[in-house]
Amino acid sequence: MRLLSAVAALALAALLVVALAQSGAPGKAGPRVRPALRVTGGLRSLYPGVRKRLPLVVWSNRGFRIRVVSLTVRVGNARRGCGRKYLRVGRFRRRLVVAPHGFRTVDLPVTMLPGAPDACKRATFPLRFTVRGRKA
């Protein structure tokens, strides 16, 4: 009976390791796996006061449908005198399901504020995307 209990405990531990590895949870110990979702995109034609659409592509590398539950864009400073405060990126609000090993496009409104100074001429704002998904 003790042997069976030990085997059961070992099996549970193995399952836990597998689950953590496949969840892709950041900062957790375990084998490194590719995130299920990846986002790419950008834009290069802003000037003060203009409102454009930021085209993004959400890629899935999993073999099942994934519903995107959140997608956030973090804007970095372009350079000294041209901080991220001069850029506004809208929120992701729509329903989006990505097909197995597929991709979907989405665009978010982006505005360079009318008061963006000359330091923002020919500037590049770095973007960081964070996406959360759920099996559809």
Partner: protein, 138 residues
Amino acid sequence: MKGICLLLSVGAALLLPGHGDAAWSVGRTGSGKIGSKTISTAAPAAPAGAVSSHDVTVTWTASHFADGTNVPSYIVKRYDAITNALQTTLSACSGNVGATSCVEHAVPTGTWKYTVTPAAGIWRGTESAKSANVVVLI
């Protein structure tokens, strides 16, 4: 024995991915960039003015960003042709003009010169050369 089997089943159901619909966070999952334009430093050609009574129609050619696309607006200025003093531009050439022509109404009698400056928000391009004299008679 049954207890152990039950424990293993429950553990598998809870831990194996693909079961249930738990959301997962995947941290930073991509990067990109947003670039901005800049107005070409080349000065626009001098505008032209045409008088009709006390209305002056000012026209000019489009200016461009460095990437070749048109700038969205222009600032029109009027100078006294004799003293070079900057005047207050009147409607409908005041502020940011979103076209390549405008009609300034009720221009006072005098001899004037016009310039245009490309504008995008608070960005300004290079001011054009002054137009030929525009004479508004009594």
